[in-house]
């Protein structure tokens, strides 16, 4: 019963955030100076022609009317069409989403692959050189801007060594090997930057475990530190790790947008940048709305995942 109530409350928060975000997105994009009519008609357009095109595109209607029309469309799953070429926004988003999803997926997996072992070592060896080295590397990593890291990787692996393509994208179904080779550097860039942030959290989560009674007991019955940490520490540390990961989702998405433009990947980020430049407002609104939806969904999933990780939360009165 308590669980149902908690889920219902979560859903309510979810919907209200979505509605608020839609209003904010609409107002901000419509406050941008310049419009798509000008981009379409170019520099020779007469004011009459501009006004006519604006009327055709419905850009001359009051803000409130346009917002409600857009919102009404969203509710039934209609994101509208691009003003520039008439393609439905959802049709533009879908292939871009695939690219961004791969990037985010490999970025997050890669960051875990780096951060979890490194964080554990940093916790266990915190008073000797491996610990110091890892902590220092994490600090340096956090100070490196994503785009710079990306450019450096391109310089080394594409320009000097010619091992990997410098940028671009090939869909998975067309050529899997090419697809993978085009994703390595972008995913590595994203993973590296995220890992630098995560390592600190993993380290402190495991440091906490080191002070727990159960860990001392495990050590007392003769387990090695690493074995005790893996067996008992992992699940406990996972709770704070998942929280951080959930909070990091938005920064991973922002990072993905930057990485996409460094590596010219045709993902949501580059779509958004192009659409803003061309004032293709419905595409901008649709893309941002989609990103908001993704972030809200993931944070909801993070909340739910506590129930999976921590059995204590599943029992009555265990709400955090």
């Amino acid at each position: 019963m308590q669980l149902a109530l908690r889920l219902a409350r979560r859903a309510g928060v979810f919907l209200v955030s979505l509605l608020g975000a839609s209003l904010l997105i609409f107002l901000v994009t419509n406050a941008l100076p310049g419009d798509v009519a000008q981009v379409l008609l170019g520099t020779d357009a007469t004011p009459e022609a501009l006004a006519e095109l604006r009327a055709q595109l419905g850009l001359d209607q009051p803000l409130a009317v346009r917002y409600l029309q857009w919102l009404g469309g969203l509710i039934v799953g209609d994101f509208g069409s691009s003003h520039l070429n008439g393609q439905p926004v959802l049709g533009l988003l879908a292939p871009r989403l695939a690219v961004t999803l791969w990037l985010v997926l490999f970025g997050v997996l890669g960051s875990l692959l780096i951060a979890v072992p490194a964080g554990m070592v940093a916790a266990l060896k915190r008073r000797s050189w491996p610990g110091f080295t890892i902590s220092a590397a994490a600090q340096v990593g956090m100070a490196i801007p994503v785009f710079w890291g990306g450019i450096m990787l391109v310089l080394v692996f594409a320009v000097w060594l010619h091992w990997l393509p410098a940028n671009g994208y090939v869909p998975l179904l067309r050529d899997p090997a090419q697809w993978a080779s085009h994703l390595v550097l972008p995913a590595l860039t994203l993973a590296g930057v995220q890992a630098a942030v995560l390592i600190r959290y993993v380290r402190s989560a495991f440091l906490e475990v080191l002070n727990e009674d159960y860990y001392r007991t495990a050590r007392a019955i003769g387990w090695t530190p690493m074995r005790a940490l893996l067996r008992h520490g992992m699940r406990n540390a996972a709770i704070s790790l998942v929280t951080v990961l959930g909070l990091q989702v938005s920064s991973v998405l922002v990072g993905a947008i930057v990485v996409e433009s460094v590596f010219t990947l045709p993902g949501l980020g580059t779509l958004l940048i192009t659409a803003v430049g061309q004032r293709d407002l419905l595409v901008v609104q649709g893309t941002v709305m989609f990103l908001v939806l993704a972030v809200l969904l993931i944070s909801a999933l993070v909340d739910l995942s506590y129930l999976l990780i921590d059995p204590r939360q599943r029992t009555a009165g265990g709400a955090r």
Partner: protein, 512 residues
């Protein structure tokens, strides 16, 4: 270890996670090894061209973006006549043409071999159908509508002979016909022109991968010299560094126009790369708003021109690449002459002129520029030089669409910097509503007389006089003409030296 694991049943999820992570690592590592070139039966002759602006559509008639004709003109859609690398008009679909004595009737003799990709002939009926279609198109871009306004009508005077009649003589008209206005569309085309093509050129649009590339495939039934590549890909880069990296990494065959001349040194190795340096139609204009009280005065405009050392500016901001022009014409224009010595750099004279105009105690101007490399860099240089003669300049950088709205449309600026990339575009100064608000009647009269001159020689002489008038009147300040900097792999040859049209002409390019 095994004994422990049997006592711990809930270890499953962690093990699964480890397996997934391991698999991901394996994929990443596998991809790291360079893939060996796949041997197919017949090697695909492919060309990859790097470009900057991605077209939103493949329809040049309803979208003014120059990135569309860059891909399509001469490559996919052909015109009756084309402009070559030296700026001269040459036959394409028309083998020959005659102009009537009053310069109002043009008779084109079409090449009888010419046919569209569909197999239909490019005959007189097809040309007439194209002119009629454009005349009746209410959604046609304003640029094309203005260019078409001079055309009275077209009629077939034989199977392969067509007569186009103008309302008045026009020097510019035939040039316009060598560009988007003259692109011949297959009258039987029914496909969506946003995504497909129906031209008579050596290539046809195969795919537009939004966000990255446009792919052209060879038109195997082409009526002229067979295309030299099976597939040509235009790849788009918003970041010039990314384009350079792709070229250095071997993923591109050609950089269609290098965006940052300071990157030239990266391609200095002539065993790997060829650098082509020519001219474009792009005049980088420091435009002044003639509605501004101070800038309406000739002395002030002359003073501003004399205060700016344009040679030093070109060396500083564009690595010395480009041409000093001094007025609204580029070296490939028939009426070009070097006017960079008009109102030459002389800061003392500039100060004297400002004093004469009553601004010795100072003048404050807003320089509002779009965020494009040449404008941002030039603005810094201009501001510093104007400061030296006592003019206070405030620089504002605007995103391009905002610039279009506030500066270009609403005229909210004192000075701005933008490249005018259209060919033979001095006529813009004859339009008082254009964002400079120049409206000088003497210039407009000179320009109209030149455009409507009875002979070609008189037309060119008239244009020359008009161009000179602009320089003398300091109607704007011409910083330089953008260079055409093309980088190719050493194995590529035949790329046109000068960008005289909007087209990136593939028809002359070969690979060995």
């Amino acid at each position: 270890m095994h004994a422990v694991s049997s006592r711990r049943p809930h270890r499953g999820p962690i093990r699964a996670l480890a397996a997934v992570l391991g698999l991901a690592l394996a994929i990443v590592l596998a991809a790291c090894t360079p893939s060996s070139p796949q041997s197919t039966e017949k090697p695909l002759r492919a060309l990859a061209v790097g470009a900057t602006l991605e077209p939103a559509s493949m329809d040049p008639w309803h979208n003014t973006a120059a990135s569309i004709p860059q891909v399509l003109l001469y490559n996919v859609y052909e015109t009756l006549v084309k402009v070559d690398t030296n700026g001269e008009i040459k036959p394409l679909l028309a083998q020959a043409w005659e102009v009537s004595a009053d310069r109002r009737v043009y008779t084109f003799h079409l090449n009888p071999a010419a046919k569209f990709a569909s197999g239909a002939p490019v005959d007189a009926a097809a040309v007439v159908a194209n002119i009629t279609r454009l005349k009746g198109d209410t959604r046609l871009t304003e640029t094309l509508r203005a260019q078409l306004a001079v055309v009275a009508g077209a009629q077939a005077s034989g199977n392969n002979q067509v007569q186009i009649t103008l309302l008045r003589p026009s020097t510019m008209w035939l040039y316009d016909m060598s560009s988007t206005l003259g692109m011949m569309l297959d009258p039987s085309a029914t496909g969506d022109l946003n995504t497909t093509s129906a031209g008579s050129g050596p290539y046809a649009v195969k795919a537009h991968n939004q966000g990255q590339s446009v792919v052209l495939a060879a038109n195997t039934a082409y009526w002229g010299n067979p295309p030299r590549f099976d597939e040509v890909t235009f790849r788009y880069f918003t970041d010039p560094n990314a384009m350079n990296a792709a070229m250095l990494g071997g993923d591109l065959d050609v950089i269609s126009n290098l965006q940052a001349p300071d990157a030239l040194s990266q391609f200095a190795d002539t065993t790997q790369f060829t650098t082509i340096s020519g001219t474009t139609n792009g005049e980088v204009v420091l435009g002044v708003n003639h509605d501004n009280k101070a800038l309406a005065k000739l002395e002030v405009r002359q003073a501003l021109t004399r205060a700016i050392d344009r040679r030093a500016l070109l060396d500083t901001v564009w690595n010395g690449q480009g041409t000093l022009i001094g007025s609204m014409a580029v070296p490939t224009d028939p009426w070009y002459e070097d006017l960079s010595a008009t109102n030459a750099y002389d800061p003392d004279a500039a100060k004297a002129l400002l004093k004469e105009a009553g601004y010795s105690s100072g003048l404050s101007l807003r320089l509002r520029v779009p965020v494009v490399p040449y404008a941002v860099k030039s603005a810094q240089f201009v501001a510093s030089q104007l400061r030296d003669v006592g003019v206070k300049v405030t620089i504002e950088e605007l995103d391009f669409t905002r610039w279009l709205d506030e500066v270009f449309t609403k005229g909210d600026y004192d000075m701005t910097i933008v490249a005018h990339v259209e060919a033979r575009d001095l006529g813009k100064f004859a339009n008082p509503k254009y964002y400079w608000h120049y409206g000088d009647e003497k210039f407009a009269a000179l320009y109209d007389a030149a455009d409507q001159a009875p002979t070609e020689e008189q037309a060119d002489a008239g244009m020359k006089a008009a161009v000179r008038y602009l320089a003398d009147d300091a109607a704007a300040i011409w910083l330089f003409a953008l260079p055409n900097l093309v980088i190719t792999k050493a194995t590529i040859s035949g790329v046109a030296q000068n960008a005289t049209t909007l087209s990136f002409d593939l028809t002359t390019i070969t690979s060995r």
